[in-house]
């Protein structure tokens, strides 16, 4: 399984590479804000002629005001609802080929994000830990 590993709120997360449609640099993207929406909805962007919403994962999972740098990116994924939705993360770490045997179920407590949005934890020999996000749940329209 190929993962794209990224970072936000000082944690390392990943989703499957094949779920990704495109990655945009935040500073070069024109986001139109919305009104009366949940705080983590940054707004709408023009994605090749279609309109896509942007979710800031840092606001989604923390009260802290996020910072924006040149590394801040928007990862556009295609969810199981066939919707193209962008998520803002701090930076992209790497693309990694992993052995699915190293994936363990998420513990109920203690990793900051509700286990409901996690498909599992990847732990390799170097004791590095990557949290696998369930984007279909996380970006489900009812959640936004």
């Amino acid at each position: 399984m190929e993962l794209i590993v990224f970072n936000f709120l000082e944690g390392t997360y990943a989703i499957e590479l094949k779920q990704i449609k495109v990655i945009l640099v935040h500073s070069q993207t024109n986001i139109t804000p919305l009104y009366n929406e949940k705080p983590w909805i940054s707004g709408l962007i023009n994605l090749r002629g279609d309109v896509s919403p942007i979710v800031d994962l840092r606001i989604r999972f923390s009260e802290k005001k996020p910072s924006f740098t040149e590394d801040t990116v928007i990862i556009i994924v295609k969810t199981e609802e066939e919707k193209l939705i962008g998520m803002v993360v701090d930076y992209i770490e790497s693309i990694k080929e992993i052995d699915t045997n190293f994936i363990v179920p998420a513990p109920e407590l203690g990793i900051g994000i509700d286990p409901e949005y996690i498909t599992g934890l990847y732990k390799n020999s170097e004791d590095e830990m990557i949290t696998l996000l369930d984007v279909d749940k996380l970006l489900n329209i009812d959640e936004l």
């Binding site: 139109t32 919305l34 009104y35 707004g43 709408l44 994605l47 002629g49 896509s52 919403p53 919707k83």
Partner: protein
């Protein structure tokens, strides 16, 4: 496989038309009280086309079912059965079953057991018509008088054909045993003194022989064809036993089976599966050509007769027979190309005549284009509009530096041309309301029958054109409103008479185009909406409070029927009254950017008026500004704009609600910055601007800072990748590539109402 799906989708479109046609024919027959030969002919042609088409797109179950129905109609056509009004009902029901079946089969979720059950039902029903006809006896009874063995043999052939249809085991052993069975059947039937039947079988046998020698491939299609012809053979035997065999008809049948034979040979010799389409084309032409050549081909017939003689004298002389078969076979093969060429030549004029008689409406010079292609075209035009606005923006920036009026002229010309192009593309998507109406009579008839009511359906404005994209969203609401009118509106005949109205209720649908809108009204002359009961129900269901009800106009009370979960039917009926439906109407219409209102009068009836924009794709918008934000207001909802003086603003009620007094009207004011929580430049109404909007007689003044330019915008759905947003109907891409938000005035008014009630 994709290719097949594409062809299937074409067929589905065609099928939908054929179903509609057939419905129309049958409903018409019902109205006239008789199923006349013209009706039957037309029906037969539709069903026949349906069968042919379905077979070629591999909808085998469907094709099989239609086949029996076609047979039945054919019997009506030939006068073997007498058409009765009960049959009209029966046929209408069968059409419903077919429509369901086609859906299921296309989606690959056809239930085989269920299919067999429906098929048995159909055959039983058809049989029952036969039995009520005293002249006709079923074949098996007749034949069993002569020979039980004969029936057994016939059954074993049919059984093995059926079983292999399921198992798909077309092994050489199977073909061999089938051939032997058939051969025995043929032999014994000719000993019994039958002539036509064995000669018919002989043709089938030839075909099988070729299959046995691997000269043609035995596949499912071939098997189906055999099954079909065996069933025909049964009819022939039956006729022959009853001495009612029509010689001309029989010649036709013989030709048919030979034709089938030819077709299958062509299929295997000259075309692979990929060439299926072209092959089908040839076949179609052949079909037409064939009718032309019809029965003149007597020499062939004689040859068959000779064969029978030959058979009778030397049944066991197999080597000679095989020789003979081979000779015949080569003849056929040589003949085919010639036939095709001849028939191709002959085909065009015949075809023309045919289409003229079958469907006059299709006589126009038209092609069928996929909606996605038009959408693509529309999107490109949309992009062009966006590019144009980019160019405008760029030139605006330049204009400060250079002043050249000629460039403005040229831009205006470009603008005009793009508009024309866009209108032209739009017009391709427009279809007449007729296509919306045509689905309704069937629904109305079924409902009226179920509810024991009598209704006259009248429609006007058949030629008014509507965006094809809109039709899908419109059909459901229309059906819901009609259901509602029939169920709750129109009274039962007795009640109507008591009220001094005609026994037959009236349901009128009118469509008209008016100043950039389509207005559709659905009117009935029933009991009207019981406003007290609706209001009471709304209070009971906490939709409104008693206090609200006191202030509400009759019109507003009537609109309560669109609230979710409100049904006033005393008992939940089969038809409507589950409390879902009418709120769907509201949702669908608003999502189309339209609005709806109701007029109702006790015992006089109700009238629903739906107001829709002409198109969903492009609209003229006005850019409005609040603080740093820019929003787009659809131009077609704007009546006027003004900067009010302090004296025009009145504060009413305990909550000091602001009202604009304009001429003699009182218009409620909505502060848009409040609605969207935007920081405005002005909070003082006299400093900013009021835009008066109007939706179905309701006027509202929207307060903004100022308005900017007016422009043509391309509508992009929010729901494609996101969901509905409060107060925003859709988005667009602006000249600089950013997103612009289009205001949903209707929704803003609704939300404001909710907000006012809650506070």
């Amino acid at each position: 496989m994709d290719e097949m799906q594409e062809i299937q989708s074409y067929f589905l479109e065609e099928a939908a038309e054929l179903f509609e046609n057939s419905h129309a024919i049958l409903l018409n027959a019902e109205q006239c009280g008789e199923l006349n030969p013209d009706n039957i002919d037309a029906l037969f042609r539709d069903i026949h086309t349906l069968k042919g088409g379905s077979g070629s797109v591999e909808l085998d179950y469907f094709a099989k079912y239609v086949h029996y129905l076609e047979d039945f109609i054919d019997q009506l056509r030939k006068g073997e059965l007498t058409a009765t009004m009960a049959m009209v009902d029966f046929l209408l029901e069968e059409l419903d079953i077919l429509q369901k079946m086609i859906d299921e089969e296309v989606n690959n979720n056809i239930d085989k057991d269920e299919f067999e059950v429906s098929l048995k039902k159909l055959l039983k029903k058809i049989d029952s018509y036969h039995n009520s006809d005293t002249d006709e006896d079923s074949m098996k009874n007749t034949i069993s008088e002569y020979s039980g063995e004969f029936v057994d043999m016939y059954d074993s052939v049919i059984d093995s054909l059926n079983s292999v249809d399921v198992s798909q085991d077309f092994s050489p052993e199977f073909v061999g045993s089938l051939f032997r069975h058939l051969h025995t059947l043929k032999g014994s039937s000719s000993f019994m003194g039958l002539k036509a039947f064995p000669s018919y079988l002989h043709n089938i046998e030839n075909l099988l022989d070729q299959a046995r020698n691997n000269q043609i491939c035995y596949n499912k299609e071939f098997n189906d064809a055999l099954l079909d012809s065996m069933i025909k053979a049964e009819e022939i035997a039956n006729d022959e036993f009853n001495d009612s065999l029509d010689q001309d008809n029989f010649a036709q049948e013989l030709k048919d089976v030979e034709e089938l034979f030819n077709k299958l040979v062509i299929r295997c010799d000259t075309c692979d599966l990929q060439e299926d389409i072209s092959c089908r084309l040839i076949e179609e032409e052949k079909d037409v050509g064939f009718e032309l050549f019809g029965l003149e081909d007597t020499p062939k017939n004689e040859e068959v007769e000779e064969d029978i003689g030959f058979e009778l004298f030397g049944l066991e002389d197999i080597p000679t027979k095989e020789d003979k078969v081979k000779v015949q076979e080569t003849e056929v093969k040589e003949e085919i190309p010639k036939q095709i060429i001849e028939k191709k030549k002959a085909a065009p004029p015949v075809k023309k005549e045919n289409t003229n008689s079958i469907k006059k409406s299709a006589a126009g010079n038209s092609i069928r284009v996929g909606l996605d292609k038009i959408d693509f075209l529309m999107n490109r035009v949309g992009d062009l509009v966006i590019t144009k606005s980019m160019l405008y923006k760029f030139l605006e920036d330049l204009a400060d530096k250079y002043e050249d009026p000629s460039i403005v002229d040229k831009l205006e010309r470009l603008d005009r041309e793009i508009r024309e192009l866009q209108e032209a593309v739009m017009s391709v998507r427009m279809i007449p309301m007729e296509s919306v109406y045509s689905k309704l009579p069937k629904t109305i008839r079924d409902l009226a029958k179920k509810l024991d009511k009598k209704v006259d359906f009248i429609h006007h404005g058949d030629t008014v054109e509507i965006d094809k994209m809109m039709v899908e969203g419109l059909t459901d609401p229309l059906v819901h409103i009609i259901r509602n009118s029939l169920d709750h509106g129109l009274e039962k005949p007795e009640q109507r008479v008591q009220k001094g109205k005609s026994e037959v209720g009236k349901l009128t649908i009118t469509a008209a185009q008016e100043s950039g809108h389509i207005i559709i009204s659905i009117e009935d002359d029933g009991a009207g909406i019981n406003l007290e009961r609706v209001t009471q129900k709304a209070i009971d269901n906490n939709v409104i409070t008693i206090k609200d009800a006191e202030h509400m106009s009759d019109e507003a009370k009537a609109m309560l029927i669109f609230s979710a979960g409100l049904s006033t039917a005393d008992a939940v009926s089969d038809v409507s009254g589950r409390g879902v439906g009418m709120d769907v109407v509201m949702n669908n219409i608003t999502s189309l950017g339209g609005s709806i209102n109701i007029e109702t009068k006790k015992d006089k009836g109700s009238k629903f008026t739906i107001l829709l924009p002409l198109t969903l794709a492009i609209l003229d918008g006005l850019n409005v500004k609040i603080g740093q934000e820019q929003l787009i207001m659809p131009l077609n909802m704007i009546v006027e704009s003004l900067q009010p003086s302090a004296s025009m603003i009145k504060k009413v009620g305990s909550d000091e609600k602001e009202i604009l007094m304009l001429r003699n009207e009182f218009i409620p004011i909505i502060r848009l910055y409040d609605f969207f929580n935007i920081k405005p430049d002005f909070t003082d109404i006299t400093k900013g601007m009021l835009i008066i909007t109007k939706i179905t007689n309701v006027k509202v003044a929207i307060f903004i800072d100022s308005f900017l330019n007016q422009e043509q915008i391309v509508v992009k759905s929010l729901e494609k990748n996101y969901r509905k947003i409060k107060g925003i109907s859709a988005a667009t891409i602006r000249g600089d590539g950013s997103i612009g938000l289009i205001l949903d005035i209707m929704n803003i008014i609704e939300e404001e109402k909710v907000r006012a009630w809650n506070s």
